[in-house]
């Protein structure tokens, strides 16, 4: 358990640092890359919780698809190398204040609720097969609905994006 805790600490540090840099960096591509680092770090935390399937899905979906498309979009439009000053608006102190307050509230509620709880070792580990069974039984309706949603989103996106 010690190894897991050390790994958890290191990964958390990386995630927090990357998250902070993500909003403070003045280069949009760097910002996206720090977001990748945050997502990758979360994927590492999932591995520590013995949820490999969620971890790989996180990599496949967020890093492999969503963020690639982000970067793709940035590169196709404009991708300045170096700093761009307009990245940070003038209202950032207010935003920072709101974020801090929200963070404090959430942190308080989490500590209040789970502050003294410990993760029990040797609990049931949910394998990929279990996830699949759940998706195709209990959550079959939302699952199918998502496929309809993706189709609709695709149709709409093509209509809106195509040149007339």
């Amino acid at each position: 358990m010690v190894a897991q805790n050390i790994a958890f600490g290191i990964i958390s540090g990386i995630v927090v640092f990357s998250a902070l840099r993500m909003v403070t960096t003045r280069n949009i591509v760097h910002s996206a890359l720090f977001l990748v680092a945050v997502l990758a770090g979360l994927s590492g935390q999932y591995v520590l919780l013995a949820a490999e399937f969620v971890a790989t899905t996180q990599v496949l979906v967020y890093i492999g698809a969503v963020m690639v498309l982000f970067l793709f979009g940035i590169m196709l439009t404009k991708a300045p190398i170096g700093k761009s000053m307009e990245m940070t608006g003038t209202q950032w102190p207010i935003a920072a204040g709101v974020a801090l307050m929200l963070g404090a509230v959430i942190l308080y509620s989490l500590i209040d609720q789970f502050g003294s709880d410990r993760l029990t070792e040797g609990g049931k580990i949910y394998r990929t097969a279990d996830v699949g069974d759940e998706v195709f039984s209990t959550y079959i309706i939302p699952f199918e609905a998502i496929s309809v949603l993706l189709l609709a989103a695709l149709i709409g996106a093509i209509v809106l994006a195509r040149k007339d």
Binding site: D133, S137, G156
Partner: protein, 496 residues
């Protein structure tokens, strides 16, 4: 192999899913017809979509005649009387909006086939919402109904305002979704379950008032407050309503808002039992929404914006019964359902008239209604009836909705309910002021730009108008009709 064999097929109740499946099938057929006949299919698209929506009513009828509550997946997907009433409402509203869209979309030469496909998808999400008793289903249903709506709001691609409408709606929508998801994750972490009934029992065990449960519940409710454009989460609504194509505006103001209300109903009456948190929240939100919506509506000069703010205020009225959900749960639920049904018809009617008038005047300003009575007396009378309904003047339908509201407040009793009742009363008076301004324009002002040509109503728009008019009047004169729906629309307590 072992894993594959261990899987048991989920028990699916095909009859209970029939309305959704019908809609899905019609959506698919629409896409296929579009692919195969291409340009030629444009003529039949609205007909197909309309017929499909009415076809969806058939299984709802058979389910209603059957009368048993059907629960799937341990109560995660429930087809009870409440769901049936709401599904029927969504389908009828969808049908009316298809009727309203036909000429608008055709004249503007927008992408017709895709428009109806997206609308059906969105309606499918609403049907799903009415049955979802599970956090994941609710969220997926919300996205399924919202994402096509974001794109429909931007459907007039050439117009700056429409783009603004779509973008604003989208950004605020995703923001709200993010907040809601965070709340859902907190609730899941707290209760270890996504199903409403288990959440309710787990929260009851925890006394329901830890910091985290309050936070989780508030986040989820705030997410839906965005959806129903409750103040202070309403800023997207006026710009989106004004910029979006008018039939889409009607869709957002009626169907989309109703879906948000349905979700709130399910959350408040099934999942969240901690009324000591929920009731003050809704008290505040309802009072704010009514007052702010009405006060801003007073100053509007654009008819669509006016209807947008009036819609916000009406949303506030609908939120009122939530504030007494604990003391008078049955009455409160009835009041919301009745309000939703009546609101749908009277608002759709008002939007139909606006559509008809703006087809001629090409303007959304209030002045364009000037002297309407002199060249289009029928429309003027219809609009008068709809506005009277919205203001709550008998015999037009709206009065019964307000009556239900007060009845729920009276049932609950107590100082808080009484003060809220006073706020409702004051707001009803304010609302009357700006509805009267529109009436004044129509009946007493000179004709807009001196253009006296009569307004030609197309058959589709005319039908929409007639349906809305008949329903509004019928609900006003025979309130028992809608009252009956309100009474049967009980949430099933299966699996609780």
């Amino acid at each position: 192999m072992e894993a594959l064999l261990a899987f048991t097929r989920p028990p699916l109740d095909w009859h209970a899913l029939a309305p959704e499946l019908t809609l899905l099938a019609v959506g698919t057929i629409l896409t296929l017809v579009d692919i195969i006949w291409d340009e030629k299919s444009k003529q039949v698209m609205p007909t197909l979509a309309g017929v499909g929506l009415l076809a969806g009513l058939v299984p709802i009828l058979t389910l209603a005649l059957d009368g048993t509550d059907r629960a799937m997946f341990g109560g995660a997907y429930m087809v009870d009387d409440f769901a049936l009433v709401m599904k029927a409402l969504f389908l009828i509203v969808g049908y009316i909006i298809v009727l309203m869209s036909v000429d608008y979309i055709r004249d503007g030469d927008y992408y017709e086939n895709e428009y109806y496909t997206l609308m059906l998808t969105s309606l499918l999400g609403m049907l799903m919402m009415a049955s979802s008793r599970d956090l994941i289903s609710v969220f997926v249903a919300l996205e399924l109904l919202s994402i096509p709506a974001y794109m429909m709001a931007a459907w007039r691609k050439g117009g700056r305002r429409s783009n603004e409408a779509g973008l604003k709606y989208y950004l605020m929508g995703v923001f709200a979704s993010a907040i809601m998801l965070y709340g859902m994750s907190l609730i899941y972490g707290l209760t270890g379950s996504t199903s409403f009934s288990s959440i309710a029992s787990a929260m009851a065990l925890n006394d329901g008032v830890t910091a985290m449960s309050i936070l989780g519940v508030l986040f989820v409710l705030i997410g839906f407050a965005f959806k129903v454009s409750a103040v202070p989460f309403h800023n997207w609504a006026p710009d989106t309503y004004e910029g979006a194509p008018t039939p889409v505006t009607a869709f957002l103001a009626v169907a989309s808002k109703a879906a948000g209300m349905v979700a709130l109903i399910q959350l408040v009456f099934v999942a969240f039992d901690n009324h000591e948190v929920i009731q003050p929240f809704f008290w505040l939100i309802a009072a704010l929404t009514m007052t702010v919506g009405n006060l801003i509506a007073l100053r509007q000069t654009n008819i669509v914006r006016l209807l947008a703010y009036s819609g916000i205020a009406q949303g506030g009225f609908m939120l009122v019964p939530f504030a007494v959900a604990g003391q008078a749960s049955e009455r409160a639920l009835q009041a919301i359902v009745i309000y939703l049904i009546i609101y749908a018809f009277m608002n759709l009617g008002a939007f139909s008239v606006v559509l008809a008038v703006s087809r001629k005047t090409r303007s959304g300003e209030l002045e364009s209604f000037g002297g309407l009575f002199q060249y289009a007396p029928g429309l003027a009378v219809a609009m008068t009836i709809f506005l009277a309904a919205l203001a709550g003047i008998p015999p037009a339908g709206g009065w019964f909705a307000k009556f239900g509201l007060f009845r729920a407040l009276l049932d609950a009793g107590g100082a808080w309910a009484a003060t809220l009742g006073v706020v409702v009363a004051i707001n009803t008076v304010i609302a009357f002021a700006y509805y009267a301004r529109v009436l004044g324009q129509m009946w007493f002002q000179p004709i807009h730009e001196g253009d006296e040509r009569p307004i030609k109503l197309t058959s589709a728009l005319g039908s929409a108008l007639v349906i809305a008019l008949v329903a509004t009047m019928a609900f006003g004169i025979l309130p028992g009709l809608v009252g009956h729906f309100g009474e049967v629309a009980v949430l099933s307590t299966l699996g609780r």
